[in-house]
Symmetry: C2
Subunit: 195 residues, 2 copies
């Protein structure tokens, strides 16, 4: 949530903009950097204005509905530098949603698991391919660095997955045994999930 604030301040630091503009840019170009949705952005802008980090003036173009153009204030710049420093210096341990699936890999028959992991691998490969084709100097922001970073992580992910699949294919016996070892608990009522 602090990163979202940082993002908005950073964008306004580059250029004063109205809400719609900010949201369009985020939606179209920053899908990899944030998943903040429109209403959240408006809410944060309101809060930032309350706090004096940005201010807004109404602007009328033609006789379209008037829109609020937000500009960063001196106070906002200070907040920006503070948030940026904090964000750069720290490394929040990330939580990867898909990892929950790995925890229960042994609940599925090996064949099924392999099929699903191969699907996942396809998806990851597609993501790598896509990100490698994003043109450099994408938007003049440091978005390039983010793209690089994400590409590096995605490639690591691809490599790991590939190796996992190979391992599972090569040692079905061993992995099956591990799966057994993993549940010394009571066999419980029904056993229908078919492990």
């Amino acid at each position: 949530m602090d990163e979202r604030t940082l993002l908005l301040l950073g964008m306004l630091r580059i250029e004063s903009q109205h809400g719609y503009q900010l949201n369009e840019f985020i939606e179209h170009n920053l899908g990899r950097v944030t998943d903040m949705k429109k209403p959240t952005a408006y809410a944060l802008l309101d809060r930032l204005e309350q706090a004096g980090a940005i201010n807004s003036r109404l602007e009328q173009e033609g006789n379209r509905p008037p829109r609020k153009v937000y500009a960063i204030t001196e106070q906002g710049r200070q907040l920006f530098v503070r948030l940026l420093s904090e964000t750069l210096a720290s490394a929040e341990p990330y939580v990867i949603a898909g990892d929950v699936g790995l925890m229960f890999l042994d609940a599925l028959p090996l064949e099924d698991a392999l099929k699903l992991l191969e699907q996942r691998l396809q998806t990851v490969r597609a993501q790598v391919a896509e990100i490698e084709h994003v043109p450099a100097h994408h938007m003049g922001l440091g978005v390039d660095l983010v793209i690089e970073h994400q590409a590096a992580l995605l490639r690591a992910d691809e490599a790991w997955l590939t190796q996992l699949i190979a391992r599972l294919q090569a040692q079905p016996a061993k992995e099956a045994k591990e799966a057994k070892d993993a549940q010394p608990a009571q066999p419980s009522t029904t056993a229908a999930s078919g492990a």
Copy 2:
């Protein structure tokens, strides 16, 4: 949010448990897998019970306050397999919070940026070290795989960061130029953030 449901179902599939038990385990052992908090878990358990995926019976131990022991139902097992399959097959493009910072790296003087990135690198290294010392067969679940996966990603992260720092140190001129190029917009009111 679906992963959270999957996690709870998966844990109950292994063994019937009461809420407190589930939460303790998550808090102490699954910090890397999920960041779900206690009240969220209770809310999801309620919802799963409404939906018939789990049921609960009250259990009294000594004369401590009675507690609800949740058990997965046949319906719940089916849901579990479905969610697990979906999760394993897909690869949601992850959003790394810290990446927002990278976007605005050029807003700081190079020296400052380097100092901050080095701090980040320290943190990442500490995380790598920590994760490499987690004992294997940690809890008998597939948690091992998750640990491996996260270790792989963390090492990739470390390598990328190291290389970024080297690049920034080696080519201060070029990077400084890029920083200039990055903002052909208006110089705006105050220029106090000192870029």
